[in-house]
């Protein structure tokens, strides 16, 4: 094989969905992706209004997200980023302690 031949064949996601982005490609995943998108928008709105709803609250209100940890982690990590955007200095350790079941994935994302 030539050193210039770097071929990585990827499956493509479902492009017919209104919200196209999802960690996995199933219709159910797209539904959950929409749920997460709505929650991110809801959080931004509520935080702007002074209501600091936490990732734990969202996860308890939407247990279906636990079935696909990728979505739950999105919700957690985005809270961390939102705090950074607000000028805070959130600590990775805090999030690892709050969400030990996602510690491995969060560690990779934070350490990068």
């Amino acid at each position: 094989m030539s050193r210039l031949d770097i071929n990585v064949v990827r499956s493509v996601d479902d492009r017919s969905s209104v919200v196209r982005d999802a960690p996995t490609e199933s219709p159910a995943a797209h539904d959950l992706s929409q749920v997460v998108a709505d929650l991110l928008a809801d959080r931004r709105r509520r935080w702007n209004d002074g209501d600091r709803v936490t990732a734990e609250q969202y996860l308890s209100e939407h247990p279906e997200l636990d079935a696909t940890p990728e979505y739950a982690i999105d919700l957690v990590y985005s809270e961390y980023l939102m705090r950074e955007q607000l000028g805070e200095r959130p600590q990775a350790d805090e999030y690892l302690a709050r969400f030990p079941r996602f510690a491995a994935q969060l560690s990779r994302q934070f350490n990068a």
Binding site: L4, I6, V9, R10, V12, D13, V19, R20, E70, Y77
Partner: protein, 194 residues
């Protein structure tokens, strides 16, 4: 083999075009890249036209091309992840800016992903359910736009020579040569819309 040596061996295989190494890299780093994009893609109007898979594939294609031409000096997995996430953030910003400009112009009503595939996406536009990342065509396109001297540096790097060895071979300082290749690849990337 130490972890560092193992990683450097892995990166050598990536640079050499080993498809198994490329697949391994995608498998290991794609989840974090896509998450970095998803959580920053909060504008509903952008979410309708950009998805993390498109951005991720574009980033990986760019990465594989530059890696094959010897641009990156990475000693450990964490540096690779940092690099890929940084590229993803920049790519998302570029695409969002592009989409915003398109909307402002109101000239076309098509998705950014499609627009990028039509005019800016460096990878082969493959309408089939399968897509190919970082292909031979892109690398050849980049190589052809390098000057002879730049291509020589890239080829020596692709052959896994370190910067001191390259400097000893063709003259100059290691740092100057590294910067020269980096600037050259940035120039070409800009020329072809990477």
């Amino acid at each position: 083999m130490t972890e560092t040596a193992s990683f450097q061996n892995f990166m050598s295989r990536v640079r050499a075009g080993d498809d198994r190494a490329a697949e391994q890299l995608v498998r290991q780093y794609e989840p974090e890249i896509r998450r970095e994009i998803r959580v920053r893609l909060t504008d509903p109007s952008l979410r309708r036209v950009i998805d993390s898979m498109d951005v991720c594939q574009s980033v990986l294609g760019d990465f594989f091309a530059r890696a094959a031409l010897g641009q990156f000096d990475l000693d450990e997995p964490r540096q690779l992840l940092q690099l890929l996430l940084s590229m993803a953030r920049n790519r998302l910003t570029d695409w969002a800016r592009h989409q915003t400009a398109q909307r402002r112009d109101a000239r076309r009503d098509q998705s950014l992903a499609q627009a990028v595939r039509n005019g800016h996406e460096p990878l082969a536009a493959d309408p089939s359910p399968s897509r190919v990342l970082a292909g031979k065509e892109l690398l050849e396109q980049v190589r052809q736009r390098l000057t002879d001297d730049e291509r020589r540096i890239a080829d020596l790097r692709a052959a896994d020579l370190g910067w001191p060895e390259i400097a000893a071979t063709i003259g100059g300082t290691p740092e100057a040569l590294r910067k020269r290749l980096s600037r050259a690849l940035d120039r070409v990337a800009n020329e072809i819309g990477l």
